[in-house]
């Protein structure tokens, strides 16, 4: 992406806010993303943060654009440094073109003014004059919105709404802070220090602005989820919190379990009694759930598992991102049993695949994973509203008759699922190998029949697999493969390369693999796989399924997702 244009010619601006935890960077992100959306700008926002409550260095990137944007970029057009240490923290991303807004009293001589575009802005001085230094982040909100010439009444109205639960004085001071910051932007423009001319978009008022956690949650509700049990763990907790917030209104039971073991066993119990349950967790938490996963398989209980990945092993980097738990999801649980793994790369897919997960889990009585990661979960952008008009929640349960047997041997492997108290029959399920009625058995012929019955469902799952999506040139020589959250950055990188022999193949279902995978690969002269892990786990899975070894790999595992520029450059070097 060309990046040497002056700001006033750019259609896509990247603003980065950098400060300590507890300094209100999150509030600024919340306010700015909503205000820009209200003012008809396309926005994307993502954050990287440390695993602590106060201090450290955290940053949020907000891209503001005249056309839709949904991926992380490396370049910083405007940096708001709210604390000392921003230069060190972001040194790889600050260029001579970056405009740095900071305050001498705070950052001191951190930035060499002879080498960078430094503008001194007295955020805290203004805040202190209003009454307290804590308003400095809201002064920054005023300055940024002012630079984009967003109507001040819109900004003030939203800020007032945001602080409406606070005292009258606090609301008044925040409004004063916004206004002061806004006026400051005016003086910067008048002195021609910064000039911005981003076109507004039309129709954005119908779009929705949300993050991955919210998209998964909305998908769960659309899938009929009425029970969630989980143990808090970054970055998966947002789903539990969202459902808990809306639980009473929507008739959902949202329970914080004592541990992940309890969480998954509760969810399986809930399905047994007729609920549609899910768990949400991350690597270490999921590791504790693996015996429960195996239980679901043996009971032939549906279960939906949202596994939001973060870097491991063990505690790893708790607040950062990685795609390294594919093999964990794929092979977790003792014994042999079918499963489905979805890996959404967009908010729309996070919604629709989570909804679909509940239906497939219920229909086939199998575990279904939604494999996301911190990057997708914590990133926001504006998207078309999710389509819910065609969705039906079909509960695949039967009213039992007096002679009902839970594990009736059927041709396709699916035994009609009854629940206790619905019908005249009894429902017995057992983690031991069991007979047709669900009671413990050591009849070894029956054992073989039960294994075969459970494994027959593999065929049905293959028939429901979502094909990978091809974007770019139909007649490609170079084929780029990606899965899950790397998708949006990959799309933008491929677009930047603007080649007539290049296509991108996006897998939103990573297991089972769709049968067309091999055909797509065989058509290419050159294949490149993009993964946010160190060992190309998806590449290995493709090789296992197709025999094709993808030699070109773009891998990243430092805890951050791919920058668009980085992908563009690396792809360029690998194209035939």
């Amino acid at each position: 992406m060309p990046n040497n244009l002056p700001l006033n010619k750019k259609k896509d601006i990247s603003i980065v806010l950098c400060g300590q935890a507890g300094q209100g960077v999150q509030s600024v992100e919340f306010l700015l993303t909503r205000i820009f959306k209200l003012a008809d700008f396309n926005i994307f926002a993502t954050k990287e943060y440390m695993s602590r409550i106060r201090g450290g260095m955290n940053s949020t990137e907000i891209r503001i654009s005249s056309s839709p944007v949904n991926a992380f970029v490396k370049r910083i057009d405007i940096l708001i440094a709210l604390n000392k240490g921003a230069l060190q923290h972001l040194k790889d991303r600050i260029s001579p073109q970056t405009i740095i807004l900071a305050e001498q009293e705070i950052v001191g001589d951190e930035f060499d003014r002879t080498k960078c575009n430094y503008i001194d802005v007295p955020f805290t001085k203004i805040a202190a004059e209003i009454g307290n230094k804590i308003y400095s982040n809201v002064v920054a909100v005023g300055t940024i919105t002012g630079l984009f010439r967003i109507d001040l009444t819109t900004v003030s109205r939203f800020v007032k709404q945001f602080f409406s639960a606070k005292s009258e004085d606090i609301v008044k001071n925040n409004l004063a802070a916004v206004k002061a910051g806004y006026e400051l932007a005016g003086s910067l423009q008048n002195s021609s220090k910064i000039e911005l001319n981003i076109d507004k978009s039309v129709g954005l008022e119908q779009q929705i602005l949300l993050n991955g956690a919210e998209a998964v949650s909305i998908g769960a509700i659309a899938g009929g989820c009425d029970f969630i049990s989980a143990y808090p763990m970054s970055p998966s907790t947002g789903v539990l919190a969202f459902l808990a917030k809306n639980a009473k209104e929507l008739g959902i039971i949202a329970e914080q379990a004592e541990d992940e073991i309890a969480a998954i066993n509760m969810a399986i119990g809930a399905w047994y009694a007729g609920a549609r349950a899910m768990v949400t967790t991350s690597g270490g938490g999921f590791a504790l759930m693996t015996e429960g996963l195996s239980l679901a398989a043996m009971l032939e209980s549906p279960i939906v598992i949202h596994l939001a990945q973060r870097p491991g092993p063990a505690t790893g980097l708790p607040t950062r991102t990685e795609q390294a738990d594919l093999e964990l999801a794929l092979y977790a649980g003792h014994g042999e049993f079918p499963r489905i793994i979805f890996a959404p790369g967009t908010l729309e897919d996070a919604f629709s695949l989570t909804q679909k997960a509940f239906d497939l889990a219920d229909k086939y009585q199998v575990p279904v994973f939604i494999l996301t990661d911190q990057y997708l979960i914590d990133s926001y952008y504006n998207s078309a509203p999710f389509e819910i008009s065609g969705i039906k929640v079909e509960k695949h349960i039967v009213k039992t008759s007096k002679d009902y047997e839970r594990y009736e041997l059927t041709e396709n492997g699916i035994s009609p699922r009854g629940i206790p108290g619905f019908g005249k029959g009894l429902v017995a399920v057992d983690s031991d190998e069991h007979d047709r009625a669900g009671h413990i058995t050591e009849d070894l012929d029956l054992r073989t029949m039960m294994v075969d019955k459970r494994l027959r469902k593999f065929e049905l799952l293959y028939s429901e697999t979502i094909p990978p999506e091809l974007t770019g040139q139909e007649k490609y020589k170079n084929l780029v493969l990606c899965w899950g959250s790397t998708y949006n950055a990959a799309v933008e990188a491929v677009k930047n390369l603007d080649r007539d022999d290049l296509a991108l193949l996006y897998f939103k279902q990573v297991y089972p693999l769709h049968k067309t995978t091999e055909d797509y690969l065989r058509k290419a002269e050159n294949t490149i796989i993009i993964e946010n892990n160190a060992t190309s786990q998806f590449g290995k899975l493709i090789k296992l399924n197709t025999g094709i070894d993808i030699k070109n790999k773009i891998l990243k595992y430092n805890g951050l997702s791919f920058y668009v520029e980085e992908l563009t450059k690396k792809l360029k070097n690998l194209l035939n």
């Binding site: 909503r34 959306k37 209200l38 109205r157 939203f158 119908q206 929705i208 602005l209 919210e214 909305i218 509700i221 659309a222 009929g224 009425d226 809306n246 639980a247 009473k248 209104e249 929507l250 008739g251 039971i253 329970e255 379990a257 004592e258 541990d259 073991i261 309890a262 969480a263 066993n265 509760m266 399986i268 119990g269 809930a270 047994y272 009694a273 007729g274 609920a275 549609r276 349950a277 429960g292 239980l295 509203p385 999710f386 819910i388 969705i391 929640v393 629940i419 206790p420 108290g421 619905f422 029959g425 009894l426 429902v427 017995a428 399920v429 983690s431 031991d432 669900g438 009671h439 413990i440």
Partner: protein
């Protein structure tokens, strides 16, 4: 008697001759019959172990889950359909050892379920190792010099967490145990019934005779006095039997989750409100 018969017919029972599980099976069947509970509306939830096989010998709904994990699904089953009677039943190793964390937190959660623990103070199915409730000095193939860990006191732990019903029974006393179980099942909220039982194969210390000689029934005991109950639970010279404590004032988990206040239907009868979902999605449009 007009109650249902819970017998399942001609089955192979996996317990040893003389096992304390047999009388518990018989007592519980009689209890449920006398309470006129319909097998269709009862769920027996268990973990793993010899005691945990008990649901398979009942004609009712069965959830035989993982070792130590009976209480979480039992809680969820009751929450998803409060019309069901839910009993979580397993042995001392399962409930107090492997499932110890769930034992603590299920008491705090207070679902309206009955928790029956077959307490024979030994691991039977794995052939005689110490259980959390084994007494000091008890020698086993693993605890070769005798148990030196402090025995787990389930009643005292439950009382410390203000469990809403706490009782101890002895499998050798059918009538008294039946009366305790009846009250436990009728109780609204979490009810612990720790049932002392001999293990004929692996516990040569805590035998029928030992239990007869080392237990007594609480007399003139105020079941609403938690401190008194706690004192009684700490006694280890002789073990008290009967209901130690009841707290009828606690609200249940099903009441506290709030979704049954306006609508009594179990979850399986409900459908997602797409109207409300649509309103929820609209909130993301950001109104200024």
């Amino acid at each position: 008697m007009k109650g249902e018969n819970f017998d399942i017919g001609n089955i192979d029972i996996a317990w040893c001759p003389g096992c304390g599980n047999f009388p518990i099976l018989k007592i519980l069947k009689q209890t449920l019959t006398e309470l006129e509970i319909d097998p269709i509306n009862l769920v027996l939830v268990s973990g793993i172990g010899q005691a945990a096989k008990i649901p398979h010998y009942f004609r009712t709904n069965v959830f035989n889950g993982l070792h130590g994990r009976a209480l979480p699904p039992a809680t969820a089953i009751k929450a998803a359909n409060p019309a069901l009677t839910v009993i979580a039943e397993s042995g001392d190793g399962d409930m107090y050892g492997e499932g110890g964390n769930h034992f603590l937190h299920t008491i705090r959660r207070n679902p309206d379920i009955t928790n029956i623990v077959h307490n024979n103070m030994v691991y039977g199915l794995t052939k005689g190792q110490a259980s959390p409730t084994s007494q000091r000095g008890f020698k086993t193939p693993v605890q070769v010099n005798g148990v030196f860990l402090e025995p787990f006191n389930p009643l005292a732990v439950a009382l410390a967490l203000d469990a809403s019903f706490v009782a101890r029974a002895f499998s050798g006393h059918a009538e008294q145990t039946k009366e305790i179980l009846k009250k436990a099942i009728a109780h609204k909220g979490y009810a612990l019934v720790d049932i002392l039982q001999p293990c004929a194969s692996f516990n040569k210390l805590n035998t029928y005779q030992w239990f007869n000689e080392n237990t007594y029934y609480l007399q003139g005991h105020d079941v609403y006095d938690r401190s008194l109950a706690f004192n009684k639970a700490l006694e280890n010279e002789k073990l008290g039997l009967g209901i130690f404590y009841m707290n009828p004032k606690k609200t249940t988990f099903e009441q506290n989750i709030g979704i049954y206040e306006q609508d009594q239907r179990p979850l399986y009868e409900r459908r997602t409100s797409f109207e409300k979902l649509s309103e929820l999605i609209d909130k993301f449009k950001v109104a200024g």
